[in-house]
């Protein structure tokens, strides 16, 4: 009973001596971290606006956040009446240990094959990389969706990074009918590609006859364009090809079926034929 009374007495003394300081320190911590959060968020927005797609924006924000957190902790310690020097020493030891761990383990951590701002295709998803964290990668698809892909999945998957090569090949395959002018069709395709300002001079645009199938002559047009203009150029070329073929009387092939009507017995030959080409 006496021992418990002594403990309560000690607690009361402790609270009388340090209670106010501890509460003030706690308040400093709470308010400080709330302010820190706002400051970091504003800084991130500012950096994103001034340096869009910069890979250093996140690093700078994190460093500033850590420094501000240290300031808050030290301020709270002072407010609580705790000795500042040992706390600073402890923080320095923690910082050095963390730095050492990062330096030691960095070579063992696999690199993701892209950086912020790159346009990549991962796991069937095409989009622009907006942020990379230790666990996942934030991507924005071209239809406006934000997708978080786990880095583990990225490392296990095939990644296409469109950033490394400045140009990309447009591939257009189409089929024309056997009675269309094949040579003229090839000329039109080549002319349309050469005329376009976005199509590279080298490698030269080329047109091939890819296959002679049952219902069509399959042509393949290939040309190189800047990565950023790939999609629009391809759409423009398709539109121009369609209209140019219409103008020149070159007809696209469609899947066709020949239908025979038999009106007599099983030995009779075809008496009527419907041919879609007719």
């Amino acid at each position: 009973m006496t021992s418990q009374m002594e403990k309560l007495q000690q607690l009361r003394d402790l609270m009388m001596n340090y209670g106010l300081g501890l509460i003030q320190g706690l308040l400093v911590i709470i308010v400080g971290f709330l302010v820190l959060r706002v400051v970091v968020r504003l800084l991130r927005k500012f950096l994103d606006r001034v340096f869009p797609n910069s890979k250093y924006a996140a690093t700078v924000t994190n460093v500033v956040g850590i420094l501000l957190a240290l300031v808050v902790i030290v301020a709270a310690s002072v407010q609580a009446g705790l000795p500042v020097r040992p706390i600073l020493r402890l923080l320095i030891v923690i910082a050095l240990a963390a730095g050492g761990v990062v330096v030691l383990l960095r070579p063992m951590v696999p690199d993701l094959p892209f950086k912020i701002g790159n346009t990549v295709k991962v796991g069937g998803l095409l989009g622009k990389v907006e942020g990379i964290t230790f666990l996942n990668t934030r991507m924005r698809t071209f239809d406006g969706k934000t997708i978080f892909v786990p880095n583990r999945q990225i490392l296990d998957d095939i990644v296409i990074n469109y950033h490394y090569t400045p140009t990309r090949r447009i591939k257009i395959n189409l089929g024309i009918r056997y009675d269309s002018d094949l040579v003229r069709a090839k000329q039109i395709l080549e002319e349309l590609m050469i005329q376009d300002p976005r199509v590279k001079v080298t490698p030269r645009p080329v047109v091939y006859v890819l296959a002679l199938t049952l219902d069509k002559v399959e042509l393949g047009a290939r040309c190189w364009v800047p990565n950023m203009k790939y999609w629009v150029t391809k759409c423009d070329l398709l539109e121009k090809i369609k209209l140019a073929f219409d103008r020149e009387g070159i007809r696209f092939a469609h899947a066709q079926v020949d239908v025979y009507h038999r009106t007599a017995g099983p030995d009779a030959g075809p008496v009527a034929e419907e041919d879609e080409w007719a």
Partner: protein, 100 residues
Amino acid sequence: MKLTEALKTIDQGWVRKYEGYRVRYQRFEDGQLVTGHSPVPEEPPLDSEVSARRLAWKLWKATGGGGDGELVNLVVVDENDDPVPSYVTGKVEVFNRREG
């Protein structure tokens, strides 16, 4: 003729590669037709003929009501200010044609 020379000759003499497109238009100012371009010559030209032709068509539709700001004789031109034959018809297309 070496093959490289032959290719160079073909590049220079066969199909012309456009450097870009602009829409040339005219408008009446004090009874006179004044010529302008979009994009203006100080800006880079459009690199898509499809976009340039759509721009010309939309400008015509937006201003072709006969009002003060009516744009006439809209035509897609190349970097030398020469009209570009349309990929639709194969001929030079002039939207809202008007004599001066």
